[in-house]
Symmetry: D2
Subunit: 363 residues, 4 copies
């Protein structure tokens, strides 16, 4: 039975959804602007017999996540941009060991310490992997509280299904927004399928090992890489997600995710009222990117990419669209949140092709 509608802040929504998904182990180290999430879980997890630990550092925390995941638990960490940089070694370990975990990045301005305002400049880090080696992190980009609830919940399923770390990529604004939410039903972690790899005490069975080091001279690591690649190919086939909004007759399609997509949607509505045929393509998975859908949609239209950074997702748009459509880009960095009016100007300029706002991308 789904819960009733409740009004809740975004950060708390993530925490509550994690608990309902059966997550009982959270490890993290504080950083603005996502401290509301660990604060929520520090109170909530003990209520359900779970464990909340503020580790000694970001690195301690991600490695505690690794340990809990190796023991078969649903587990999670969260941080914001520079804190997530510190977790890159842990994330590539999780990927190499094929361990499920959910990592939340409520992005802030960068590089370095930057500021504490909402930003979206960690797209490359999330989708290309800031860690070493051939690996991919399934990356989910919610655009509102209801989706925060659903994607957080689902992130745990996806992580378990594919034995892979999953990144939930939000920003400080999304963590602060209060919206009505209907949560999914509780999952009792005891009812989840047993994991046949979990290091849960070798009683009545042989020992197990989980590792990312393949030192054999017979191509063992290559085989492991090919196995991982097959998994990533399967994820790419099955898990691409996106949403379209008023795209059917659109001449111009704005591509944006997360907070930027919310601003873009308002801009689309405003331009529609003015009679312009504008639509929105919103990727929900950033990796795998919804390439085929965007490729198909782009044909014969103009594509306007709007990001809260100086241009990162635009590469995936280019890789998706190729020369099928003109691509324009408008980015706002530094934790500055543009008004819908600014995006309206960008989209109008894209529509006109006058180049007044944003820039044409050459491929």
């Amino acid at each position: 039975m789904p819960s009733e509608k409740v009004l809740m802040r975004g950060s708390n929504v993530v925490g509550e959804a994690a608990v309902r998904a059966g997550c009982r182990y959270y490890f993290g180290y504080p950083i603005t602007p996502q401290n509301e999430l660990p604060e929520y879980l520090s109170g909530r997890l003990p209520e359900v017999g779970g464990t909340f630990i503020q580790g000694e550092s970001e690195i301690a925390s991600i490695n505690m996540v690794l340990g809990a995941a190796a023991a078969g638990a649903r587990t999670m960490t969260s941080s914001s941009s520079p804190g997530v940089s510190l977790k890159q070694e842990g994330i590539t370990y999780l990927a190499g060991m094929e361990l499920p975990a959910v990592i939340v990045n409520m992005m802030r301005g960068g590089p370095g310490l930057g500021n504490i305002a909402p930003s979206a400049a960690d797209y490359f880090q999330a989708t290309r992997g800031g860690g070493n080696g051939d690996y991919r992190t399934l990356t989910l980009a919610p655009a509102g509280c209801q989706e925060l609830a659903e994607l957080t919940f689902e992130a745990f399923d996806l992580a378990d299904k594919y034995r892979t770390p999953v990144m939930l990529l939000g920003d400080g604004l999304m963590g602060q927004v209060m919206e009505p939410v209907v949560f999914p039903d509780y999952i009792d972690p005891e009812t989840l399928p047993k994991k046949d790899y979990a290091l849960d005490g070798a009683k009545g069975r042989g020992p197990r090992k989980i590792f990312s080091m393949y030192l054999g001279q017979q191509g063992e690591l290559k085989d492991h890489n090919l196995k991982l690649q097959a998994k990533y190919d399967e994820i790419t086939d099955k898990e691409r997600r996106w949403e379209t909004y008023k795209t059917d007759d659109a001449d111009v399609i704005v591509v944006a995710y997360g907070t930027a997509a919310r601003i873009a949607e308002t801009a689309v509505d405003e331009l529609r009222e003015q009679g312009l045929k504008i639509g929105l393509f919103r990727p929900i998975t950033l990796w795998p990117y919804p390439t085929p859908a965007l490729r198909k949609l782009a044909q014969g239209r103009k594509i306007a990419v709007f990001e809260l950074c100086l241009g990162q997702m635009v590469e995936d748009v280019m890789l998706s669209v190729g020369e099928r459509a003109e691509i324009y880009f408008y980015g706002v960095p530094g934790g500055v949140i543009p008004t819908p009016a600014e995006v309206v100007e960008f989209l109008r300029s894209t529509s006109n092709g006058d180049g007044k706002v944003g820039r044409r991308i050459e491929l």
Copy 2:
């Protein structure tokens, strides 16, 4: 006066070139397969009055680099793949603070600990930034000892010129190769231009500050991001480097860097002997990628991308080539070094378009 030709191992070449470039501060933490480099510098730096420190960890080391750079010194660290993952926070700090430093990654197999064999799966990490925020790391990919000497030497100039971290991206094989080298002349660090930002003791002048945190509410971080972007644009304009080999009449052009390019070159020679018109395009800067040169060259030919991983640089090839040419990819992961014969097969298959080796990339 340039030095005479000497026979030297790749790792030592990097160390010696760093010393000649005026680097006097090395900080690092051991990891195979690059320990020969710190070993060399641990003996060499004291001879020239320099300082070699094995830090408590990779993170301690990169932050010591940050400190030395802030004090105005030429400084360097080195590691291999998982060790470089640990340095991502430090690198984004360097970028945000606009501090020059040289970071050497002698790549090994991944993800996670992987193995200690040569690999090239950290291309995304190096070129897209494993740290947070909008920043770019100038990435140099040498393909032999002479180039190791020259690019290491030049890396310090580039770092200083643009006040930016520079990544030297090699692999374990390159560190072990012994080849004759002619080194550039010594630079006396005392003769280098004074840095007007260096925190070198506020004697006879006002204090200085170096930071990456811009908390101001007037768009200070945005301004900083735009300033950084202007710098990255300038680097993109001026510093793209590449080499072509027998491309003039080529029907098929193989694109490869580093150790992969050496193998590819042998394959090209072999195929040329067999009468096939094959050439090699070798990017020397991975960021900025030599997009215009490759774009121009690709027109009307087939492009064969060969990487020692499951496909990362291929994205930059796609972004460069677009639909101007068919793109084929062949990657070998897991620290396995293919023979030239395997690459010959890939290139022959590409030439035939028979799809027997490698795969056609759809854009």
Copy 3:
């Protein structure tokens, strides 16, 4: 209702007694020869809804203990000699903040890494405080499994009663011994008195602070020191414990604690059989030392101090006995466990005053 008699290994006895005392939070880092204790608790604590954490290091662990204690919980850490050296800062913080906690040191040979054999060379560290400042750690020295159970159990009461860290000082041998034990009744931690200083969420009350830093210029730290001293005086008055064995008519009294006392007891029995009037004085609290009892008992006899080190407790014997009796010392360092026969020889030599084994202490 007390438990029935069970046969159990010493390390497990400590763990089980801690659980029965209401301890629900254990934090530690592995070191031989005490790993059986954390191993036991890693399985046992979850059964009672408790939390077992292997911290990132000894320092992380002792500071997690500090955190749990500040939150009002019964909490514990354990280690062996060099690991306890790393905890000294944390212990002085606990003392300064007046937080209850139980610290187990299963001593091994030293200094430095030494070896992993049983030893007793950390007496000074435990009783004089290896941390900074005027503080004292209540130190309990069990000499068998039943006492391990009782003193561990009571350590939590003492820690709470006096708001002070309590050290349980054993050694590797004691952790390995298997003996029958009757455990005290379970304490439900929910039934323990609420701590009016605990940082347990300021609901319906004002905020609280716990700290060891007193920067005020009005002698605040001095006042705090005097308050602590008054507490230590009270502990000294009320909590001294010791045991005597066949001392009534003894000419020679051997003073020993822990494993050394067990060996000494066998030696006493053997010498009694031979007709010598030998007795044993066994301190159970090492701080506060049972000075008045020993002082009174020493009058007119010879005192033989036997330690598994080169002489540390002997200082407390000297401070207790003064010139009331001749004091002889015999110590065996380096994790070597002497046989009762060796101690017999020492005691016989002491009885004769022939100086063949051990040495006369001059005061």
Copy 4:
């Protein structure tokens, strides 16, 4: 040729004396009230080709000291009370490995963070060893700038002579005092005797090992302990130091060290003017304690112990004096520096035996 007299602050005196003693490697982490010392050395060491490193932490720093000592260099760290607590593991390692090093503790109030005012509550930690195992740290207690210079200088000789860590125990006041100093001559570290244990590169000789772990089953650690003990006995025989002041005819002898001794000396002068026969016994080595000298001097007089803490050295006085004299104690904790007038009252009260100030110690 000795230097001319210069006026200098205590902290700088320590730094300058270290440089003159041939120390070229300083490693430390900042803490008030001793930051002037690392600040001085951060500028001074590079002038003489030395290395100053602010480590990542106190633990990193003491282990860097260990590394430099193992390589044969004269090396030093400094900190204040809680920072020294963190170094205890490193110090016991130095002792176990028989490595020379100088550790400066400019004591502040405790326990825990306490305050930043001068104190003397780390006497136990310094003289009994806060680390594990049977070891001793030669502890020097200077009482003025000239002695700071001389004892710092000599500390390096003692450390090398006995292959042992040496503690220089001062306090924040001593670091701030400005007094005229004549420094010893410079020692060129190149002229110091080569250390036949130093890990300085096994060129033309076999490899060496330095370790504190003796896992052999044939009593190897016991032998090592006995060897260490023989060294400590030799130090005890040869290196006890103290100073007496107006003790010849004294009825009451105040025992005090460091800053407390300076205050006591003023009090002695004042009481002498009033006609009381008071003298001062000032230990300069705290370990080994000048027991025989004090024992001899105490006979037939009253002993007044004055400490800037609640009573730690008083134990060594008791162990020295036994029942040969009445012992009175007066201690001021918490970083409060009493005036000479207060000490005058204590000494007058001791003289009268009226018990108004301080307390009689029972042995």
